[in-house]
Subunit: 593 residues, 2 copies
């Protein structure tokens, strides 16, 4: 069985744009797919204000914003600061005052009215008539994976339908939509807020979302939206956030479906957009229209998500440039390409740091990559410090056989060099390790793990290869178009991967082939399969190998605890959404009790 | 206003042990205060089994275990693995089979019966008559600070009273008790499970807990338990976990209160214990008995928590020894003392790493500390590698003025040395930074922040001094008793703190005095006060200083993201219980919107 992201890669969805029937009762709705910066309340309010003005200029009756748009998703523990909540509420009231001739639906954290329970709601304000005319409260609060909403919010309990311009609009927020008994393996919640809205007479379903990117997820979102539309015979408006915020990338892909699930409009992916759609109210059907270019899928979507996530992390942290080590290998080559795409080649500094074990080919590959990408390039041989450490440590390690210690010293020496360049030049260091390495600890803490962002920490090695080939070969590849050819040297892709920390080392000396390794990781980490289940499913991999890999994944939790944040693109990334104990002793092969 | 931990230090509680009235209906209850290792289901089952045997030997009717005792608290995402849950359930059934002549109440994760909602309960099994006779389910699921229970569990809804030996026992689990409208600033929950038990005719209230240590918390626990006992006129049995699991330390302090809140029995703190108490059922009063030595408080409790947390982290991760850098300063001296107390002096390796900027006094202080503590001691001067890095980096940093870069290179060179010793010797590196430094980023990522555990990361600098003085001077200090005198050199305590990374540097060159700094941190981090509130409360500190410190705390989130885990001893530690975004731009001084 291939890893799930391959399944997702094949999961194509093609959309046909539908036109409403000319006899319908229509409401012109604008979907404001904005990129808020977490915590930047004034800046986000400016963006919202500009979108309201643009929607007004297009005669929209209502402009819809994403979940918690005023503070940006996910705001995390900023929500625990009363001063933050006060600022959000004040900003919403100021925006509402400007909504005299248009209505706006804006996500915000709203203080609860009750004297017990959590003190906040995850809400959306219907700003209309110069005031907050109605407040909708999220009912289903995701508290799994990267989501922590029960930590902050009290759930809503009432069906949330309000009347606007004579139309009953039913508003839900993100997760409220994600409790579909037919499409999901298990309903996590007892309530169905969408059904409650339909029962309460909603003529249109509006969902304010901050739904993060995962490869293949948008196809599923369209299924879910379509199922809800058809089940309740109502049009549905889905407005999603776009942009990167720490580990999460939001792909946008806002859209409007008719009551028969026909797509009435679809916003861009990985870009800001203001999509204005004439939405037929109630149970009207859509009629087939022209086919539209819509969301990018598979490898292409992963590429755009990584570029956006990396770029936004730099921009929102205030970094204008990136520094990274170039080993001549595929991981650092891919990272350099992504960095050049994110911030521009002139803002990327590649540093080759050859050691006594580096091959000449590696240095040549690093140099060629830099030349093809047109990034800045420096060489800092590490031997001087490497020898100094050997002299200094020699008397203290005397008599003990060589092991990973000596390899780690080299990796950490490179970490010191890269961090010095980062500190001095104000460039963010990108850590280049991939998900497969991070899983089994094939990486050095404070060495190659050093950096502000681990761009590939949710990209399995097999997908690293796919991405490199896509960047080089796909007619859709922006870098290929820009440079009029492939940018990653072929030999970086074709040579056997090696850390080059001792003579004649290759990754496969100590690890199974990456396609096997990635399947084990996928089953254990993403699917939570037991060792026994994996052995049964992958007999050719060998039970001992599988047990050893699973044990390596468990044992290396301490490294991942101190890893740089990474960009989530699969169903389960290492990082905030996977919270494992470190000092633990779970035994996979159960003893008799 | 002094920081809250000082308030807590003054919060003494003295207990008088009460004897039950001889006319009471009694039940002999054993409280098994065990130290489970997270995930070690077979090992924990062994511990539980031995406690059942000991309780049986003392003729107990019932033996009570802590919350989730079979898997250890907090199990975190191990709970998402179906194989883990299966093993827990099997272990509980095996233990239940042995409970023929005694009853045991054992915390475990239990699969839910329903086909929707979360698939697990946080439960306690009443093992009796050779089977699981009753299953109690936790109602209130803490989801704040370090707690994530809504991530895993579906809440219980029924009052949970069962009959054992003719007595109606009402069982609650940990947080179920923590919703007291009179004692807590806000009720986070709408339900009151303790009241429900009382209404359902419980004659004794039993609470299975995993309530982590915070300075001053046990005094509050006794208030809470006493209030519940008196409110419902029922005796209350509180069985707590002890031991360290990653960031959390559990202090034990299990106890039994009579219906009038008189203490009938109190287990040890920071140790395993099996407390057996004849508990009078129903509304019987206790009669005053002799005074008992009970829980240690304030500084003493912080000392024991840190020693236990450090020792258990090493033991549960499989480390037998500790390595750490000794700068001659107070932080590393305190860490070395705690390490010696945790694992024995013979298992601690102190390493002095003088640079061209180190004073002779620093090296002498480091050496004297090692001699007094009788730990192993090595000196590795860093100049050789320091110069090598200067030669290597020189051409790349040319023309740019000296800044923190050069200081960081020294700190990271030390990090490389310590990690090499850790790797080669199999000794865990302890990171020695304190909470005040970590707050404002007065520490080097991959340098002095390197390590497996940051022992002092929740110990503010002012408390570092208090702890050092207590270790040296208190008649209760185990190290003072063992070494028959003070162990930390006076000059490490009295000299002005300095990182010694450039000539004539002291911490106070760039930071306010630590008593001021710690108050700002306490208000901003623990109390979530706004900059405006802090400026109003601390006018003498100066508004600009306060703004600068708050900004430093925000800006250094990226360093803390990659910090080693630390031991929580205050109401709010950096780490798992404080989840801040990194790429965020919250502006404390609000612009006009």
């Amino acid at each position: 069985m291939p890893p799930a992201y391959f399944t997702a890669l094949g999961n194509k969805h093609s959309l046909f744009l539908h036109d409403p029937d000319p006899g319908d009762r229509l409401m012109k709705i604008a979907l404001a797919q904005i990129n808020p910066t977490v915590g930047d309340i004034a800046g986000n309010a400016d963006k919202i204000s500009r979108c309201i003005a643009r929607a007004r200029a297009q005669d929209a009756t209502l402009v819809v914003f994403p979940e918690l748009a005023i503070i940006g998703y996910p705001p995390k523990d900023l929500l625990l600061k009363p001063a933050v909540i006060n600022q959000c509420v004040q900003a919403i009231h100021a925006l509402a005052a400007s909504c005299t001739d248009i209505a706006a639906l804006i996500g915000y954290p709203c203080p609860s009215d009750e004297d017990q329970g959590r003190s906040l709601y995850n809400a959306a304000a219907l700003c209309h008539g110069g005031r907050v005319a109605h407040r909708f409260v999220k009912t289903l609060l995701p508290t799994y994976d990267v989501f922590d909403e029960r930590r902050y919010f009290e759930p809503g309990t009432q069906p949330q339908v309000a009347t606007l311009d004579g139309v009953r609009i039913g508003v839900s927020i993100c997760e409220d939509l994600w409790n579909d008994a037919e499409l999901l393996p298990r309903r996590l919640y007892h309530e169905d807020p969408i059904q409650a809205l339909a029962k309460d007479g909603a003529q249109v379903l509006i969902n304010c979302s901050a739904s993060p990117f995962v490869i293949g997820k948008h196809a599923f979102r369209l299924q879910l939206l379509g199922a809800a539309a058809k089940r309740h015979q109502l049009p549905i408006v889905f407005c999603n956030q776009f942009g990167g915020n720490d580990e999460l990338v939001f792909d946008g892909n806002s859209c409007v479906l008719a009551a028969d699930a026909g797509v009435l409009g679809h916003a861009k992916d990985f870009e800001s957009d203001l999509l204005v759609v004439d939405v037929p109210m109630g149970q009207e059907q859509a009629t087939p229209g022209q086919r539209v270019e819509t969301a990018q899928e598979g490898i292409a979507s992963a590429y755009h998500a990584l570029v956006l996530g990396l770029g936004d992390y730099c921009r929102k942290c205030g970094f204008k440039s990136i520094v990274l080590g170039l080993s001549g290998g595929i991981d650092s080559a891919l990272c350099a390409a992504l960095a050049a795409a994110a911030l521009g080649a002139e803002n990327v500094i590649g540093v080759a740091m050859p050691s006594r074990y580096s091959s000449e080919g590696s240095l040549a590959d690093a140099r060629e990559l830099a030349e093809r990408l047109k990034i800045r390039f420096s060489t800092v041989p590490i031997n001087d410090a490497h020898e100094a450490f050997e002299r200094m440590l020699g008397p203290h390690l005397e008599g003990l056989p060589a092991d990973a210690t000596e390899e780690n010293v080299q990796a950490r020496t490179r970490g010191v060099i890269l961090m010095a360049l980062s500190n001095k030049l104000g460039a963010m260091l990108v850590s280049t390790g991939n998900k497969s390495e991070l899983a089994v600890g094939y990486c050095t803490l404070y060495g190659d793990m050093a950096g502000g962002l681990a761009v590939l920490s949710d990209v399995p090695k097999t997908l690293v290869y796919e991405l490199a080939k896509w960047i080089n070969d796909s007619p859709d590849s922006p870098l290929r178009k820009h440079h009029n050819g492939s940018v990653i040297p072929e030999s970086s892709i074709t040579k056997p991967p090696s850390a080059e920390l001792r003579p004649d080392q290759t990754d496969q000396d100590s690890l199974p082939p990456y396609d096997v390794l990635d399947q084990i990781i996928e089953r254990y980490v993403e699917q939570e399969q037991s060792t026994g289940q994996i052995i049964e499913a992958m007999p050719a991999a060998g039970a001992d190998t599988i047990r050893r890999i699973v044990r390596l994944i468990d044992l290396n939790e301490y490294k991942r605890k101190q890893a740089a944040p990474g960009l989530k693109i699969t169903g389960r990334a290492f990082g905030f959404g996977r919270r494992m104990p470190i000092a633990q002793r779970y035994e996979h092969d159960q003893r008799d009790l």
